[in-house]
C-alpha cells in the first residue's frame, strides 16, 4: 500500500498552506517528502521550477518545525537558533546578528543562554520556530507544532504563527489534524484522506462548499440529508427533501448529480421554527455552549439534524425538549456532495 497516491498540489509563494486530515492520511509523509527525510518512489517536487525530490535534506532551502520541536539539548537557545546559519558557513558576526533578530522576533531575548531543557513548552516552540526561520528558507514546514500546547497557549501561538508568516513572507506549509486550527490560520488548505488529496481551497471554500462527504464531515459540524436532486438552468439544483419540500442547492464542482444524492447543511445555516418549516421533527436534546446553543432534532423521517443558534442574554433558546418543531433551511445553505 502506498502512503501517498497520486498527490498533486500547487502551493503558492508566500501563502500559509495547510495539509489537513486525520492521522494516517499521509499528510506527514507528504511533509517529509518535501523536507527530504523520505524520497518519493515516483514524481517530482518542484521548488521555483527546480526538482528537489532527489536532493538530501541539507541541500534543500526548506526548514522544518518538528512536532517534538527536536531542539538540540546540548546547546543553548541561541546556539540552537544559530545552528543552521553556522552549517551554511555564514560568518560569525552575521550569525550573531541574525540570532539576535530571531530572538527578538519570537520574543525570547531574555532566555538566549538557557539550555533548551530549562524553558517551557511554549518557549521551546518559539525557539523551534526561530531556529527554522533563521536560515531564511524558501519554505517552512510545520509538523503539528501546536499539538503539545495547552488550549490557551495554542490560541496564542496560532496568532503568533500568522504574524510570523506575514512578517517574514516565507511560504508556510502547516500540517494539522485540527480542523479549527486549519480554518483559522490558512490562506488555503488541502483536505487529505487515505493518501489522497480530496479538496484544495480557501477555508471558506472548504467549509461552505465541501466537494465530498468526507470533507464536509471532517470539517465542522454537519447535517447530511438525502434528497432527490435536479439540476436547474444557470447552475445550482433543486433538492426535494423527504418532507416533499423543495430547497435550492449549490452543486460541488465537477459533479453531475442525478436522482438521489447527499446534501449538506451546516448547523448555523438552519433555524428551528414553531410549525412545519422544511423538515418536521421533535427536539431531542439542547446543548448550551456559552456563545451558542445546539438543538438536536429527531426528524420525522428518522434522521437527525443539529441546529446551532446564537444565544442572547435575556432569554433561553425558546424551545423545550420533546417539542414538535420544524427546521427551516436558509436559501443558500444546501450543497450537493459527491458521495
Amino acid at each position: 500500500m502506498a502512503a501517498l497516491d497520486n498527490v498533486s498540489v500547487v502551493i503558492r509563494e508566500n501563502e500559509f498552506f495547510t495539509l489537513l486530515g486525520p492521522s494516517g492520511c499521509g499528510k506527514t509523509t507528504l511533509l517529509r517528502l518535501i523536507a527530504g527525510f523520505d524520497f518519493p518512489t515516483e514524481g517530482q517536487i518542484l521548488l521555483h521550477g527546480q526538482d528537489i525530490a532527489p536532493l538530501p535534506p541539507f541541500k534543500r532551502p526548506v526548514n522544518t518545525v518538528f512536532q517534538s520541536y527536536a531542539l538540540f539539548p546540548h546547546m543553548t537557545v541561541a546556539q540552537n537558533i544559530g545552528f543552521g546559519l553556522e552549517m551554511l558557513g555564514k560568518p560569525k558576526d552575521e550569525v550573531t546578528v541574525r540570532v539576535d533578530q530571531m530572538l527578538k522576533l519570537v520574543k525570547m531575548e531574555a532566555l538566549r543562554n538557557r539550555k533548551t531543557s530549562q524553558i517551557s513548552g511554549g518557549q521551546q516552540q518559539r525557539v523551534a520556530l526561530a531556529r527554522a526561520l533563521a536560515p531564511q528558507p524558501k519554505v517552512l514546514l510545520l509538523d503539528e507544532p501546536l499539538s503539545a500546547l495547552d488550549y490557551k497557549l495554542r490560541k496564542e501561538m496560532q496568532i503568533e504563527l500568522k504574524r510570523l508568516q506575514h512578517e517574514t513572507g516565507i511560504t508556510f506549509i502547516f500540517v494539522t489534524h485540527d480542523q479549527e486550527e486549519a480554518l483559522t490560520m490558512s490562506d488555503r488548505l488541502a483536505v487529505m484522506s487515505a493518501g489522497k488529496i480530496l479538496q484544495v481551497g480557501s477555508p471558506w471554500d472548504i467549509y461552505d462548499k465541501p466537494s465530498e462527504r468526507f470533507v464536509a464531515d471532517f470539517i465542522g459540524e454537519t447535517n447530511f440529508l438525502t434528497a432527490k436532486v435536479q439540476l436547474v438552468a444557470g447552475g445550482g439544483a433543486n433538492a426535494t427533501l423527504s418532507s416533499g419540500k423543495i430547497i435550492p442547492a449549490t452543486v460541488a464542482e465537477n459533479l453531475v448529480p442525478s436522482g438521489e444524492a447527499t446534501i449538506v447543511v451546516r448547523p448555523e445555516h438552519a433555524r428551528v421554527v414553531k410549525g412545519e418549516g422544511h423538515l418536521p421533527g421533535v427536539i431531542d436534546n439542547i446543548v448550551y455552549f456559552g456563545t451558542d446553543t445546539n438543538i438536536h432534532v429527531r426528524l420525522d423521517d428518522g434522521g437527525a439534524f443539529i441546529v446551532r443558534q446564537q444565544n442572547t442574554r435575556s432569554a433561553g433558546c425558546g424551545f423545550e425538549l420533546g417539542e414538535h418543531v420544524g427546521i427551516l433551511i436558509a436559501d443558500d445553505a444546501a450543497q450537493v456532495l459527491k458521495d
Binding site: F58, L71, P73, M75, K115
Partner: protein
C-alpha cells in the same frame, strides 16, 4: 504524658535503626570484600618480604622505594627502576591505544545496532556478547592461533603474496594490542549502544534539515549526545586494560610484560609480596587519578558546550 512530637521522634529513631539493620548485609560485604582486602594490601606493602614468599612482620618502606627506584648491583646506589618504568609506560600506551581502537571500532558497531529495528537489536547485542560466554584464556589462545607465524593470518598473507616470510606478530606489543582490542570491544560497544539507543533520531533529522552534512551531524550532534556512553565505555576499557594479565601473558610471551604481569611476578617467582602490594596500589592510584582527571575534563567540556 508523651507529646506527639516525642512519639514522632521515637518513631524516627526506630526507623533509622531499622534502615541501618537492613543495610547491614550490604555494608558487611563492602567491608569484607572491598575495603578489607585493600587494607591488607596497604599493610603488606609496608612489611619485609619473607624468604619463601609471604611476609615478615617488620616495618619497611623498601617496597615503595622499589616501585620507582632500584639499587645498583655493584655500587649499591639508587637509580630509577628502568624496568618498572618501561612496563608502566607500555601498560599506559597499550591501554590508551586499546581504548582509542575499541572506540573507533565500537562506535560504528553500536550505531549500527542502535539503528536496527527493535527486534533485531536484541539479536545483534546477543552476537556481541557471545564471546563473553567463552573463557578468556581460550579466547586469547584463539587469537594466538590466528596471529602466530604459522597461523591463519600469516598463511593468508603468504598465500596472497603480501609477504614471503611470516610477519612476527606474536610476542610483540602488536599482539597484545590486537588481543586486548578483541577482548575489550564488547565493553565499549555496550555502553555506547546504551546511550545511542536513547538518542532521539529526530535530532539527527533536525540536523540534516538545518544544512548539516553527515560529518557535521556526527561531530556536532551525535557525538556530544552520546558522550556519556563514550566516557563510560572508555573507563570500562581503560581500567581493566591497565591491569590486564592473561592477554599480555599469552600473547606477549614472558618478555612484553604489563603491570598485571609485573605484579603477579612479585607474588610468584619474585617472592616479594610487599613490592607486589606496593605495585598493585600504585596501579590503583594511577587509575584513580586518571579517572578523576577524565571525569573532570568531561564535565568541563560539557559545560563549554552548554
Amino acid at each position: 504524658m508523651t507529646t506527639a512530637a516525642e512519639i514522632a521522634a521515637r518513631a524516627e529513631r526506630e526507623d533509622v535503626r531499622k534502615r541501618w539493620l537492613l543495610s547491614t548485609p550490604a555494608l558487611v560485604i563492602i567491608f569484607l570484600a572491598g575495603i578489607g582486602p585493600l587494607l591488607v594490601v596497604v599493610l603488606y606493602s609496608f612489611l619485609t618480604p619473607g624468604p619463601y614468599g609471604d611476609v615478615k612482620w617488620e616495618f619497611s618502606t623498601d617496597a615503595w622505594v622499589g616501585v620507582f627506584l632500584q639499587r645498583d648491583m655493584f655500587d649499591d646506589t639508587l637509580g630509577i627502576a628502568d624496568a618498572h618504568l618501561s612496563i608502566f609506560l607500555r601498560s599506559v600506551r597499550l591501554s590508551f591505544a586499546t581504548t582509542i581502537l575499541t572506540l573507533i571500532f565500537g562506535f560504528p558497531t553500536a550505531y549500527f545496532i542502535a539503528t536496527r529495528p527493535e527486534r533485531t537489536q536484541a539479536l545483534w547485542l546477543f552476537v556481541i556478547t557471545i564471546p563473553f560466554w567463552t573463557n578468556l584464556l581460550i579466547r586469547t589462545f584463539a587469537v594466538q592461533e590466528v596471529i602466530r607465524n604459522e597461523g591463519i593470518l600469516n598463511n593468508a598473507l603468504i598465500w596472497l603474496g603480501v609477504t614471503s616470510t611470516p610477519i612476527q606478530i606474536l610476542y610483540t606489543d602488536w599482539a597484545i594490542g590486537i588481543g586486548m582490542v578483541y577482548v575489550y570491544l564488547p565493553l565499549m560497544v555496550l555502553p555506547l549502544y546504551a546511550s545511542m539507543e536513547k538518542l532521539d533520531f529526530r535530532l539527527v533529522e533536525a540536523g540534516y534539515d538545518l544544512y548539516a552534512t553527515r560529518f557535521k551531524v556526527l561531530t556536532r550532534i551525535i557525538i556530544p549526545l552520546v558522550k556519556p556512553g563514550i566516557i563510560a565505555g572508555s573507563i570500562l576499557v581503560f581500567i581493566p586494560s591497565l591491569g590486564a594479565y592473561v592477554t599480555p601473558r599469552v600473547l606477549g610471551g614472558g618478555r612484553q610484560m604489563m603491570l598485571g604481569n609485573l605484579i603477579e611476578l612479585q607474588f610468584g617467582a619474585g617472592r616479594n609480596w610487599p613490592l607486589g602490594a606496593a605495585l598493585a596500589l600504585t596501579l590503583t592510584i594511577i587509575v584513580t587519578v586518571a579517572l578523576l582527571f577524565y571525569v573532570r575534563y568531561a564535565a568541563q567540556s560539557e559545560q563549554r558546550h552548554g
